[in-house]
Subunit: 219 residues, 2 copies
């Protein structure tokens, strides 16, 4: 029997690795992409390419968040720059989008219920994260309970295979699986080239350094 899964694919390093983990586990994958007015919409082009390369179908969901509240969707708020990794993890930064993962996973639950998928894969990561509350294991534990209570089917589960991994560990896993990291996009700014000063660029750089791998991007 075909095992179906929904994979949340942002076009970044973590979600691309998660996609490859799901494929390795034998799932037939539908990728979900979200266009929510993010500054770095460029990641969506990358996500499409990554899905196609992996031979997966994808669906794009579009919506706006007209209340802003994050530097990732509101250009009037500055993206934090040049922060050390200790500083990054100290408090929730302005790049946090209120309840973003709650929205993403809600769409994935709807999709999984409709297409008969039993797993929702998400690249959430609680180690090298920027203090986002919706990236922690206990959050997904409760979300799984919510799915059991709120859907017709009781057999859909969120799987977050990278949640307790460091960025370097993630990269090592992905390298073994053949993840095309040169096609992923992490920079919050979405310029022509990665800015190398935002938190996401900083975390990525340290990850590659610690994994002793080279990070090159093809635009």
């Amino acid at each position: 029997m075909v095992k179906k899964a929904v994979v949340l694919l942002s076009g970044g390093l973590d979600s691309a690795t998660t996609l490859y983990v799901a494929l390795e586990r034998g799932y037939n994958v539908l990728c979900l992409l979200f266009d929510y007015g993010q500054r770095h919409r460029k990641e969506l082009l990358k996500a499409k390419q990554i899905a196609k390369d992996a031979g997966c179908e994808y669906k794009m969901i579009r919506f706006g968040l007209p209340w802003g509240g994050s530097s990732l969707v509101d250009k009037k708020i500055k993206i934090p720059e040049k922060r050390g990794l200790k500083e990054i993890s100290k408090k929730i930064p302005s790049t946090y989008v209120p309840a973003r993962n709650t929205i993403f996973v809600a769409f994935a639950v709807s999709c999984a219920e409709a297409i008969g998928a039993k797993a929702i894969f998400i690249g959430a990561n609680a180690v090298d994260f920027s203090g986002y509350p919706d990236c922690r294991p206990e959050y997904y534990r409760v979300y799984n309970e919510l799915i059991r209570k709120g859907t017709k089917r009781k057999d859909i589960k969120i799987v977050a295979p990278l949640i307790r991994k460091s960025k370097a560990e993630i990269i090592k896993i992905g390298k073994k699986l053949g993840v095309p990291y040169h096609k992923t996009w992490s920079c919050y700014k979405g310029g022509k080239k990665p800015c190398r000063v935002c938190d996401s660029c900083a975390i990525r750089a340290r990850g590659f350094k610690e994994a002793e791998e080279e990070d090159y991007l093809i635009d």
Copy 2:
């Protein structure tokens, strides 16, 4: 201090009553409307009018659910008709939209967190419902826990004031509060006039009958 609330407003009877309950409790209300490709998009015109009449700001969120899975968004699936009230409550009907309330509330959480609202009002109702799993008290209990785990703020709560009321009780509450029921829309079909044969029309008709109130609509 101003108490802010987000109210999920569909344009139907329950959500309109919920809006008036929130206002009576002294909240400064922002209404959230959802255009998700529902057949009865007409309800949105009603919702806008209801929000304006009540002097409330509203925001419209637009998205598609490209996986269908419900007669409410997929015109190829027939809306159930002429079912007795016993039959309606027996099993989850095709009008159930997978994880719809999970998505709606997720947007409301994002909005509440961004604007500093402490309450999310929803007109969910577990008595005269059509067996939808996302209308039950235990579902909202878990969702409240999810909000505590997944947001920066810990003080946002879902309030479902009608969850244990019958349709007749809801109408009696609303009548006292001055809810303009003649401007609400319940029919799943969204035609010029209510069809009077879908589950939603049937439940509404019995509610007005039991409440001993007259139901008239102004188009």
